[in-house]
Symmetry: C2
Subunit: 466 residues, 2 copies
């Protein structure tokens, strides 16, 4: 439904864009930085857009979308560009609406425990702003430079999801511009509503294909003063993933519950240069590690909970249980957050983040090992074990073999009741598997929803649906 | 888009329905019980349907919807009929699909903390089934006879929402039949996913207008062993509603946080015949009450938390603070749950459940008092103060005056950033205000979504959109 614009239209476009956002915030042709051509997805092909604009108000965004419909130009929203699925890769001949200038924290409402932010605000900026109020926005997808707009578009998750859930659970209101240029407000500073369809929830995770979010209302929580990090080596991946549902069931309420396989742990400690002080003999017999971070408002209670957890982990077969001193704990958690960069530095050809029911992780990991062996691939991983979200670095340079491997891997996850992506999204890079493996009735239904929002197909075409 | 069926079609319909669900589960004409003509909404006009069917399988539901499209007959899903907005009121000449026979608890999965249920299962049945596993499904909208299917359709809330959230936060997967007769499965035993649009969330709260839910996957939580209930009388409504955000901010994490005005409290104790043991002089100076229920897995910690809460309530101006003995606590909570029946028994003409930002309750209550005075109406209430959801009994027999009053009352809530309904829904009874007060751009968008699901308009016509 969108078409490549020819050169005359390009001139018209540049002129019209300049009138909307000003000459200093309109880039066309060679003036466009390469950065806008891609996100961080390992496999995505960079694509230069015809134009990049940096609006500063919702009214400007609305004018840009009206213009896009008028000229039939594809439009892609962009936050910090830290996505891992190619969801903000531009369309050839299309326009990128980059939200870096819409980066105001509009309000921190202490009474309602709410923050109202523009989409270009980063997680780091938001955290710095709410910390003095002793509040926290609890979604940490591991990249503090990520923008809230991007987080909303992909329904970002991260390590703390086992306690707090994901972006979807903390965004309670949105302002969004429709393809028609009309602006709507959904939800609000409300923890519940039953007043028509929930447009907030529908827009979250829609990867910029339904509307452009220009403001988000976020739930905040009292910030915990105390944290403790426990590391437990196990003699097999199976032992560690089997332990996970038991730890959750105990009601101890971990903030973070991650597994790290021996390969990833060893690469992590050497790459980032930290030592967790684990004796050599334990290291030698450890095939996988469980990391459990706890938090609390009361130091004594936290200490008692950690003792209870340690006891439980021992019963569940941990070789030993270490309560890490803060510097080691920070290094480990930061290392885990940067696992993507580690995989990239080590030459991973792709990264996936299949999600399965928590208790199905052991079976899924067995499938993964079999598929790796069958295709002579190497797969290393770590994951949000507490919520079944397994992150795997795929080392298989042959694109065709890799595609077959990923197809089988996603099929295996789905046959266990899982989904292709827990938090990275489909973008351009995982959509082919979605189209191959998902129920066509659901895909058709989603396409009809897409058309209900965007009849001319100008919003981020080529994402999710191909 | 739907049309009244004539008598010949009626015969065909009855015959066709019998072939799908059997003669024992097909009711037409005088064989239909009056119960199917209404829910519990005070203002709704009962409407007999042309037929009632009780399917026992998803395949039967699918066949019924295919038939409905073929014959152009409106179809309304019905759970236990305990709704308060007329959302399951039949359409004249239409068919009711009643889910009472689809009442199997399919699975209680202890490892993933999940229950899978058919829509006709009641909250009481589910609670009885999960309790032996020391688990809980935490949504309690106050009516234990309500069905899970109805809870999903209205995004039911209830008193525990301040701690646990509402239905939307605990339903992680659905099976649903589309108007086309096609069956889809959404989500799963997954706490996160970023794989296409979230159809689960879109169906929740859609009041049976988008698809018929035939199975729901629900999150369960470790059941707390200890509970404590605190009652604090205050000398004004303003004092009590001002205290609410402070209690939430303290991080004490209440399970229940309700305000009850003096009228409602007095009616409640006399109607249900219980005595909370509050001295007469305190009663005389109490204009509103705050009820705080706490729960915990550890008795000592709970006791310490209750002591801290009591201290805080005193600082916030409570006349006194009572930790209620279990029988009095149970009587009070049960009385609060039955506040709707109390209002009905006392002759309330309508019930509303406006939701506003938590901190806006004092201002909203001032508006309510002014609107009551201006229209010579009497308004009594209580509410889920912790989440801004105010339940008001409206005593104004003149329908025209009442309609004006409600319009103003909803407008006041919305201008404070609120919504018409926090948990009852729009159904037939609140939709006129929705259509009058909501942004027409959003209503049009919702209509287009409706059409994407139900192009022939057979699913519960006349609800939400009029």
């Amino acid at each position: 439904m969108t078409r490549r614009v020819d050169l005359n239209i390009m001139d018209d476009l540049a002129e019209a864009l300049t009138q909307i956002v000003g000459v200093d915030h309109t880039y066309v042709g060679n003036a466009i930085s390469d950065d806008y051509a891609h996100d961080e997805a390992l496999t995505a092909t960079a694509q230069m857009p015809a134009a990049v604009v940096q609006p500063s108000t919702t009214a400007e965004v609305a004018a840009l979308l009206r213009l896009a419909v008028e000229l039939g130009v594809a439009v892609t929203a962009r936050g910090s560009g830290t996505g891992l699925s190619g969801a903000c890769t531009p369309t050839a001949g299309g326009m990128v609406v980059s939200f870096e200038r819409m980066n105001t924290i509009i309000e921190i409402d202490e009474e309602n425990h709410v923050a109202v932010v523009q989409p270009g605000v980063t997680l780091a900026e938001l955290d710095a702003a709410v910390a003095p109020h002793h509040l926290i926005y609890p979604v940490f997808p591991g990249e503090y430079g990520a923008s809230l707009g991007g987080n909303v578009a992909t329904n970002a998750g991260g390590m703390r999801a086992v306690k707090y859930g994901v972006t979807r659970h903390h965004v309670i209101g949105l302002e969004a511009v429709l393809a028609s240029g009309e602006t709507i407000r959904t939800g609000g500073k409300l923890v519940k509503t039953s007043t028509g369809y929930d447009l907030t929830q529908l827009l979250i995770g829609s990867e910029g294909t339904l509307a452009f979010v220009t403001e988000a209302t976020l739930k905040l929580y009292p910030r915990a003063d105390f944290q403790a990090t426990v590391l437990a080596p196990f003699s097999s991946i199976d032992a560690v993933t089997t332990a996970v549902p038991r730890v959750v069931a105990s009601g101890v309420g971990p903030l973070i519950l991650e597994y790290i396989d021996m390969t990833t742990m060893s690469a992590m400690t050497s790459h980032f240069g930290f030592d967790l002080g684990i004796p050599a003999d334990v290291k030698d017999s450890a095939f996988a590690y469980l990391v459990v971070m706890m938090e609390g408002h009361d130091a004594e209670r936290l200490e008692a909970d950690v003792a209870r957890l340690a006891e439980q982990l021992t019963e569940l077969g941990a070789i030993d249980v270490y309560v890490l001193p803060p510097p080691a704990a920070n290094a480990l958690i930061e290392g885990r957050e940067k696992a993507f960069w580690l995989a990239k530095a080590n030459g991973a050809d792709d990264i996936v983040d299949v999600v399965v029911p928590r208790a199905a992780i052991p079976e899924f990991m067995t499938n993964v090992a079999e598929l790796a062996a069958a295709t002579s691939s190497w797969i290393a991983g770590c994951g949000h074990a507490g919520d079944g979200n397994v992150h795997l670095g795929i080392f298989q340079p042959d694109a065709e073999v890799r595609e077959r491997l990923l197809h089988s891997l996603f099929a295996a996850g789905m046959s266990l009741g899982g989904a292709i992506s827990g938090e990275h999204g489909l973008g351009t890079e995982k959509q082919r598997y979605f189209l191959e493996l998902e129920d066509p009735v659901k895909i058709d239904l989603m396409r009809r929803i897409k058309t209900a929002f965007d009849p001319h197909g100008i919003l981020n075409p080529g994402k999710i649906f191909g």
